[in-house]
Symmetry: D2
Subunit: 131 residues, 4 copies
């Protein structure tokens, strides 16, 4: 899958579109997503809501798997774990996934979420089950 | 805090508003949130995006803490873990939090996420740090 | 499986034996394990090592599944998450599992770990894959 | 702290001693622990018990923090998450921690657990609270 194919799929998925994520780069072991910070993505403290980072982590592994399997293997998230390290208040949110296991049933990726200055803001591990 | 006070705070938080969550009920040890399923909250498989359930889990613990502390203790999510058990395609998404630990620095809640028929769709544990 | 059958299997598993866990009770949706606190299970602070609680959480779900399937379905842990709420320094460690999802491939249980006074010391969620 | 100092502390911690872990190497951002696989560390399937990998993950971050703070900051695990990717049946178990956040209250590390052939067997994220 080219980055254009992947964008067509990933960026049109309804919730991804609501969040506003973009497939920025492809890597040998994963993808980089970007999302512009905006008021709608904030919590009461005026920084990125935890749910936004979780969504980007989930999507960064799911899109890496879509690419790995050429979009031909439906799969679903079974578990997601995330640690929030630093708040992001503005600029870009960057989510880089690394697939660490492609199994017959389960696939696992880890994700680094950073701000525009590449300061680490969250780390996550996400599991997908192939259907 | 009355449920009206809590709603005023929680439902106007920008990302909660984008998702469309509502504070449905207060309990001795937590709160119940509800969110109507709609196309914008779906993934490519046509079911609730994993990020939506993570957002509800995060919010269900955060809002229970806002109520516990009368809205006077700012806090931030430090870790979130969620297992997805069953897809939700339509109807309501219901998130019930139970605070299991109120510490001096860290507070922990667990969350059951169900569909309109009260079938369990996800389970989560969320940690907040008091600031 | 009777509790005696289950004990024969669970308590003779090498690492469970090293830890010293015991199947204390069976419930409709899970099991209760107990483990006597002793010096060998401690960390440098003189309280239960985090690895002990993780081991009990893992075992409490695995043994509940062994019982659910009558010991006829081999399975393996795929993910474990645990939050430590309070230290345990002496007395018994009690781990009560609740199976929340028995799927075709994945089974999920949540576990409450308490001290002898039934004060909650940790909460966990554990996933097993059926082989 | 030299590796000898660190070993004196870490390898004499009672539960670490029971498991048999060894501080193998120090790195700029963490440590490498090793543990010889042996029958006592196995589950009923004859492979490493999930609790052993969780213990190594916990220890690999705790020992990296002991070194970072020169052994002068007591701390306690507050949350641990681990995904099991492949079984380990014999040889060495190698746990490499990377500290990703040293905060005023919370410190987070991620851990890669591998077998003797450096095949990845588990990935974990562990949080400690400074006391």
């Amino acid at each position: 899958m080219t980055i254009e194919n992947l964008r067509a799929v990933a960026e049109n998925m309804p919730f991804n579109k609501l969040i506003g994520l973009r497939v920025a780069r492809l890597h040998a072991d994963g993808v980089t997503l970007e999302c512009g910070m905006r008021d709608e993505l904030k919590n009461i403290a005026g920084v990125m809501h935890g749910g936004v980072a979780a969504t980007l982590a989930d999507a960064a592994v799911g899109i890496a798997l879509a690419r790995h399997f050429g979009g031909r293997r439906p799969c679903t998230t079974t578990d997601l774990k995330i640690n929030y390290l630093r708040p992001i208040a503005h600029g870009k949110i960057v989510a880089r996934s690394h697939l660490v296991r492609i199994g017959q049933n389960l696939c696992v990726g880890r994700v680094d979420i950073s701000d525009a200055q590449r300061k680490l803001a969250a780390v996550a591990i996400v599991t997908y089950m192939l259907l």
